[in-house]
Structure formats: structure tokens, C-alpha cells
């Protein structure tokens, strides 16, 4: 199994989720994260004082899939999350040694 992890723009989450659902994926985990990359920060102003906020809000999407689907899932995310502007984020694939479904005790691809 592979773990596909993506960091995307928050407003692209619905597009990514819908695209993955349409491709038949049965689950994903999402959290709100902050970070910086090439996009840099943004400037906020409070009573005339300017502050640079260098950690921007992003969304991290994680989903575990059978080996043969990993590339396809990554492509789906890239297509759905792309705006073409700086700050679109990244997708990476890592190997998963073991996967267990807690309710049934199923292991491996059966637990995906």
C-alpha cells in the first residue's frame, strides 16, 4: 500500500475531494495546517502596524491506496488542485508497511 499525501490550497479541498470520490476512493483524512514554501507570506495590518504572516493556511490530504493506484490518485489530486498560481502545494507518495482496520482486524489491501 501507498500513502498519498498532498498539501493544497484550502479552497481547492472540495474539488479534490469530489475528484477522488468520483474515482471511487472510499476514504481520506484532512487537516488544516500552516506552512511556507515559495509562495512567501502575506501582510496584515493592525492599527497601522504591518505584520508579515509567513505561515499560510493550507490543507493536508492523506489517503492510503493499493500500490497500483497510487500514481493515478496523485494525478487526480494534481489536476483537481491546480490553479496555476504560486502556492498550489505538493503531492508525494510514500510506502506503507502495514495497514489494519480497527473494527474488523483486516490487514493490508483488505483494510483500504
Amino acid at each position: 500500500m501507498k500513502l498519498v499525501t498532498a498539501i493544497i490550497k484550502p479552497h481547492k479541498l472540495d474539488d479534490v475531494k469530489d475528484a477522488l470520490k468520483a474515482a471511487g476512493l472510499t476514504g481520506m483524512t484532512v487537516d488544516e495546517v500552516k506552512g511556507f514554501g515559495r509562495q512567501g507570506g502575506k501582510t496584515e495590518i493592525y492599527r497601522g502596524a504591518e505584520y508579515v504572516v509567513d505561515l499560510l493556511p493550507k490543507v493536508r490530504v492523506e489517503t492510503i491506496v493499493p500500490d497500483e493506484l497510487a500514481d493515478q490518485v496523485a494525478d487526480i489530486i494534481v489536476t483537481a488542485a491546480r490553479t496555476g498560481k504560486i502556492g498550489d502545494g505538493k503531492v508525494w507518495i510514500t510506502s506503507v508497511d502495514k495497514l489494519i482496520r480497527i473494527r474488523t482486524g483486516e490487514v493490508g489491501n483488505d483494510a483500504v
Binding site: 479552497h11 472540495d14 500552516k34 502575506k42 501582510t43 502596524a49 504591518e50 505584520y51
Partner: protein, 420 residues
């Protein structure tokens, strides 16, 4: 002659009505997504800044000049606060409070009416365009309609009744909201994406403030500390309660669960509907009016999905529909025993259909006037300034794109460095 009791009550009522605008701000702000909270709060608070000034410069005079003329608009007699002072003012008004207090009281109405529209245009209107829109709208739309009804204009002369602004405030703002969102378009992703309220506690707080402030709105519209004011206060209370029950009952039957947002919305629907009726009805009528509004408004808000217009926070479903329900039901329930101003009693009190017809005319003309002019104003602003934020700014949210701020900075991972 100035009456101390009346003056004391109206000083307080003015404060109560002003408090409704922050209440409305939080009622709406809780319903938007967390990236648009400040945008919503700012639009409402900014109305208190800008519209107060526009009101004393020109708005009040266009609304209340030439009072009792049976006409369409006031004049410039009171512009720049001319002739507005501590005396009771022109005889037509029959005031027992300082004229400057009457001007201030009406100012709070002029502030909240354009602010009501922000619920429909949520999350996508450019702040600059909003500022221009409400200033122009106050002068071109609100002032004439207030003149027709509150200053002895043609609708008042015709015999239509509107105690505290069912047509002037709610039908007027609701029709404008419909016109502006047709020009503005729907939010990106609506209705496919879930855009549920980010903080219902804020909405409940706002509802409480609105309910509280509405006593000043309706009972204050008596302009005296008297029996009519007391009746208006009781009617306001009962209609809000019955509105809540009506809305929740429909939700319970239709969706299975009574919701907090439903309770808040039902109370507001009841308050909207009782507004034109407040000082003209009595007995059990406010309960029937509020209940009808709660039921009809919850059914009306579903229509936006059918007709595919993005009335984001249901200004049309609650204020336009609730305002029309109240204006028309007054034609059934108006009671001359409650208020001697009532010449033609309602259908249920044996007054025939005369008043109902006047109420229909008042509602229809107010709707048409406001819709057409609001549409035109929005179109012109769209052409020269752009009504809507850019697609990127909409994704970013109004808080940052329009105001360079963030509403919520929880935790210590914000990592902010001071630049200057």
C-alpha cells in the same frame, strides 16, 4: 410641547434600534465562512459610520421634508441639519420630543435598512462598491419610500398602514437584495459546496441583540411613552416567540430536528412580520401573524435552490417574504380600538377589503420601486467600480482581501513578524 416621559423613552429607543445593527452584524457573521467574518462585520459597522453622516447631510431632509404633502419625496429644508434642534419641529409631526431626537431615531432605521442587504451579498461584494451602493441607495431608494409612508407621502395619504417599517425597511431591503444579487451573481462553488455557518453561537448572540433592540424599533415607533407603545412591545415579543415556534414546527416535520439556526431565523421572521402591524393590532393577532411568518419564511427559503439565486443568508426569504406577510396580514387584523389612526379596519374586524387592498398596493409599489432602482444602481456601480471581488480575492476571503486582517488567530503558530 416637549414631554419628559416621551423624550426619555425615545432617547432610549434610539439606542435600542442602533444596537440592532451590531446585532445584525453578528447574526450574519456567524452564518458566513470563517474567512469572511470581518468582511461581514465591517460592512454592518461601516453603515453606522457612513450612513449617519449621509442621513443628516441629505437623507433625513429628502425623507421628512415637505411632510404631509401626499407626494413622492421631501425637499432640502432640513439638509445640513438646518432647522433641526431641541424644539418639537414642524407642526405636522405632532411631536412631543425634540426634533433632533426624531432625526436621530429615524437615522437608526436608515442605517439598518441598507445593512440588511449584506446578508444576501455575503462573501463576494467589493467593499468599495458596497460603500458607494449603500450611500446612493439611502438617498435614492430609502428616503423616498420613507417619505411615502412615514412623512405623510402618497402611500400614507392613500390609507396604507405601516407602523414601524414593514414596507419601508423590510420589503424595501429585501427587494434591493434580490436586485443586487442578480447583478452580483452567486458565490463561487454555490450551491455545490457546503457553505455552512462557521459559528452559530455568534448567530444566536446576534439574534438576542436583534430581539432586544426590536422593542425600540417597534415600541419606539409610537413616538410616545404611551399605551400604543406598550401594545407594540407586547406584540413584538409575542410575534417573535410565535415565529420561532412556527419555524421549528416546520423543521421538525420536514427535516426531523429543530435547529438553533431555525429558532433564530423564526424569531427574526416573526419580528419582521410584526413590524408593520406592531401598533395597530392587539389580542391574539400578533401570535397568528408571527406564527404565519415563521411557517411561510421557512418554506420560502427553499425557493432559492429551485430558482438558483444565491440569497446567501436568506434576506429575501426572511425580510422580503416576512415583510409582505406582515403588510398583508395587517389588512386582516388592524384594529381601531388599539390605535385611533386605523381608519379602515382589517377584514377580520369587519372593515372589509379596503385596507387589504391598500396594503397590497403599498407592498407591490415598494417592491417594484426598490427592485428597479437597486438593479440600476448596482449595474452602474458594476460598470465603473466593479461590484464583485476578483476570483482570487473571493478564494482568499473578504477578511484578508478587503481589510488585510484575520478574524481568528488561535494558537501560537501564526508566526508574525512586525514589518513597520
Amino acid at each position: 410641547m416637549i414631554d419628559a416621559g416621551d423624550t426619555a423613552w425615545m432617547l432610549m429607543a434610539t439606542g435600542l434600534v442602533l444596537f440592532m445593527t451590531p446585532g445584525l452584524a453578528f447574526f450574519y457573521a456567524g452564518m458566513v465562512r470563517s474567512k469572511n467574518v470581518l468582511g461581514m462585520l465591517m460592512q454592518n459597522f461601516f453603515a453606522m459610520g457612513l450612513l449617519a453622516i449621509v442621513w443628516v447631510l441629505i437623507g433625513f431632509s429628502l425623507a421628512f421634508g415637505n411632510a404631509g404633502d401626499g407626494g413622492w419625496i421631501g425637499n432640502f429644508d432640513f439638509a445640513w441639519m438646518r432647522q433641526i434642534g431641541a424644539e418639537v419641529g414642524p407642526e405636522w409631526f405632532g411631536l412631543s420630543i425634540p426634533f433632533v431626537l426624531f432625526c436621530a431615531y429615524q437615522m437608526t432605521f436608515a442605517i439598518i435598512t441598507p445593512a440588511l442587504i449584506t446578508g444576501a451579498t455575503a462573501d463576494r461584494m467589493k467593499f468599495k462598491a458596497y460603500a458607494i451602493f449603500i450611500a446612493v441607495w439611502l438617498v435614492v431608494v430609502y428616503a423616498p419610500v420613507a417619505h411615502w409612508v412615514f412623512a405623510g407621502g402618497w402611500l400614507a395619504k392613500l390609507g396604507a398602514l405601516d407602523f414601524a417599517g414593514g414596507a419601508v425597511v423590510h420589503i424595501n431591503a429585501g427587494a434591493a437584495a434580490l436586485a443586487v444579487i442578480i447583478v452580483l451573481g452567486k458565490r463561487k462553488g454555490w450551491p455545490r459546496e457546503g457553505m455552512h455557518p462557521h459559528s452559530l453561537p455568534l448567530t444566536m448572540l446576534g439574534t438576542g441583540i436583534l430581539w432586544f433592540g426590536w422593542f425600540g424599533f417597534n415600541a419606539g415607533s409610537a413616538l410616545h411613552a404611551d399605551g400604543v407603545a406598550a401594545q407594540a412591545l407586547m406584540n413584538t415579543f409575542l410575534a417573535a416567540s410565535a415565529g420561532m415556534l412556527g419555524w421549528l414546527l416546520v423543521e421538525r416535520i420536514k427535516d426531523g430536528k429543530p435547529t438553533t439556526l431555525g429558532a433564530a431565523s423564526g424569531a427574526v421572521a416573526g419580528l419582521v412580520a410584526i413590524t408593520p402591524c406592531a401598533g395597530f393590532v392587539g389580542g391574539m393577532s400578533p401570535i397568528l401573524i408571527g406564527f404565519a411568518a415563521g411557517v411561510l419564511c421557512v418554506l420560502a427559503i427553499g425557493l432559492k435552490f429551485r430558482f438558483k439565486y444565491d440569497d446567501s443568508l436568506d434576506v429575501i426569504g426572511v425580510h422580503l417574504v416576512g415583510g409582505i406577510v406582515g403588510a398583508l396580514l395587517l389588512g386582516f387584523f388592524a384594529d381601531s380600538k388599539v390605535n385611533k389612526i386605523v381608519v379602515n379596519e382589517g377584514v377580520f374586524l369587519g372593515g372589509g377589503f379596503k385596507l387589504l387592498w391598500f396594503q397590497f398596493v403599498a407592498s407591490a409599489v415598494t417592491f417594484a420601486f426598490s427592485f428597479v432602482l437597486s438593479f440600476a444602481i448596482a449595474k452602474v456601480i458594476d460598470k465603473f467600480v466593479g461590484l464583485r471581488v476578483s476570483s482570487e480575492d473571493e478564494d482568499e476571503g473578504l477578511d484578508y482581501s478587503q481589510h488585510a486582517e484575520t478574524a481568528y488567530s488561535f494558537g501560537n503558530t501564526g508566526s508574525m513578524d512586525r514589518l513597520s
